[in-house]
């Protein structure tokens, strides 16, 4: 197990390097740069001097290597727009994103797995059909639309909840006010995320229930509850965990949308604002964080699965 983990860990280092090169290339592929919208009042020579100062006149490979060297020493550089350190910016915005996305991810996962199990155990019956139909519906609803509609109903029409933001502007922080602001975004995000878990869980559990080891457990006369909880559920969770590993970074980068809808001051907005202004180092910093999440998510999922299903662990040893 340890060897398997170390092997996978070692393989992810070159992967991250390749991804960072690709991202760097993509950022610089674009026409234009951070000084496009600087206005007519700045002398072209000053722009040139600024570019030199920021190291933007180096050849691209040099710029990349400098960035890599800095990053390996733990320095993500400074924003070309605000002059702030990139890691400070990210650290300031990260908690907001984690609170919103983490809460909804956990809630949807718990609800989705439960619904998926219920649907699978009542296959073809009314419960299964209702869960199935609802999840097909919920899956096709884009989160930004549901968000706008929810704001229109609960904030604009009924006035029960605030339209957005992390707290009432101008008021001191209070937990009640904060939770009130968190409620609507969390509900919307949870709702749209439930189907992916419930559908995967249902399909996977149905699959496992037909496996030989479950038939063997039945033949041994174990109770149905024990068969499901001890023998069917752990291997059936494998695809769910794999999906979770894939989904964490999707949700993280998708934050650009949800945070726009709910005026939530998190990572997604930070990236969005950076993308509008060619803030290379800010974008590279955030792309790096996101890539680490992608690669780390896959890795964590694979390792968890190797624990849950011994067959995966022993695959390499045959």
């Amino acid at each position: 197990m340890t060897r398997y983990a170390l092997q996978r860990l070692a393989a992810s280092v070159p992967l991250l390097l390749v991804i960072s090169i690709l991202c760097f290339g993509l950022l610089h592929l674009a026409p234009g740069g951070p000084f496009d919208r600087i206005g007519p009042n700045v002398h072209p020579e000053d722009v040139e001097r600024l570019r030199r100062m920021m190291g933007l006149d180096d050849p691209l490979p040099v710029q990349y290597l400098k960035w890599l060297g800095r990053t390996l020493r733990g320095d993500l550089g400074t924003s070309l727009v605000t002059g702030e350190r990139v890691d400070t910016m990210i650290r300031a915005r990260l908690p907001a994103t984690v609170e919103l996305l983490g809460t909804s991810l956990v809630l949807s996962l718990v609800a989705g797995v439960a619904l998926g199990v219920i649907a699978a155990l009542h296959r073809g019956r009314l419960v299964d059909r209702v869960v199935g139909a609802t999840s097909v519906l919920a899956q096709s609803v884009p989160v930004f639309w549901l968000g706008v509609v929810a704001i229109a109903v609960f904030a604009a029409r009924l006035g029960w909840l605030p339209t957005g933001g992390r707290g009432t502007p101008g008021e001191k922080f209070s937990p009640g006010d904060y939770l009130l602001h968190l409620l609507l975004p969390v509900l919307v995000l949870t709702f749209v995320q439930i189907p992916q878990w419930s559908r995967t869980m249902r399909a996977s559990l149905l699959d496992v229930l037909g496996d030989e080891h479950v038939r063997a457990a039945r033949a041994r006369g174990l109770s149905e509850a024990r068969i499901i909880l001890r023998h069917a559920l752990p291997p059936a969770l494998v695809p769910v965990i794999t999906l979770l590993g894939l989904q964490v970074p999707v949700v993280f980068t998708g934050a650009a949308i949800t945070e726009t809808v709910f005026a939530w001051p998190g990572i997604g907005r930070l990236f969005y604002e950076g993308a509008l202004r060619f803030d290379y180092w800010r974008l590279m910093g955030l792309l790096l964080v996101a890539s680490v999440l992608v690669v780390g998510g896959n890795l964590a999922a694979d390792l968890t699965n190797a624990r849950l299903d011994p067959r995966i662990r022993f695959q390499g040893k045959q």
Binding site: L15, V18, I19, L22, C23, L26, L27, L29, A30, P31, G32, G124, D128, R129, G132, V136, L137, Q139, S140, V141, P142, F144, W145, L146, V148, V149, I151, A152, V153, A155, A156, R157, T163, A203, L206, D207, G210, P249, V250, F252, T253, G254, A256, I257, T260, V261, F271, Y272, A275, L276, L283, L286, L287, A290, S291, L293, V294, V295, N298
Partner: protein
Amino acid sequence: MMPAVESRPPHVAGRRAPAGLVWGLGLLGVLVAISVFAPLFAGAGRDAVHLEIRRLGPSWQHWFGTDDLGRDTLLRVLLGGRVSLAVALLSTLVSLLIGTSLGLVAGYRGGRVDALVSHSTDVVLSMPMFFVLLVLGSYWGAGFATLCLVIGLTNWMPVARLVRAATQSLRDRAFVEAGRALGYTTRRILLRHVLPNAAAPILVAAALAASQAILIEAALGFLGMGLRPPTASWGVMLRDAQEHVFDAPWVALFPGGMLCLTTLALQAVADGIRDRLDPRLRHA
């Protein structure tokens, strides 16, 4: 007399198409038809600004109400459908072209070629895609052709994986081997013998890619990084509408509703085909 030979294997005989496939295709057909014929409903002076009828609620004259510039929302939803569906169609074609060729070659050749293609696919899949889309969208999203290209280029990976798996399972089948024995070129075997037999998984991949493309276009338009106003794509309309949730909520309701219906139809089609391929997953 020889008994009549049942030409289809027993597990296929007499099975009807899944209900989801039927209504999904039907719904999709209606949506496409509406979009194709939208200019006919529009008449002259379509999509014109009428400031004297700004932000009217739904009524008999304006079924879906009017927006903040007095444009008819129903009309803009219909015209927007043309744009959204066209983007989905073209970008899906791009994804299919890339994904299918890579998948066919990797699955058929195996060995080093397969390793190269599969690893490249994995690397691209490991990129934080929505951030990448935001960057590309802010540079190239405003043009119709470049937007289709951007979405297509970021969306081919699932197609490549599905086609590769299908090709691998077909590679050693007797009819493909027969083709090799007859000395057909690889190109001919892939295009004439493998590709048609991989049609079902390719259709699933296409439907999923299209629903993904529609959502990406809408998300980019919503964030102001896709097509720009006054183009009426559903995402661009939602961006306009968000500023008016208080005084004209209906403007947000309808484009989003159409977006849902379209992705719903595409998902139903994909699920329907998949159910036929793997009946264990069926709900009923």
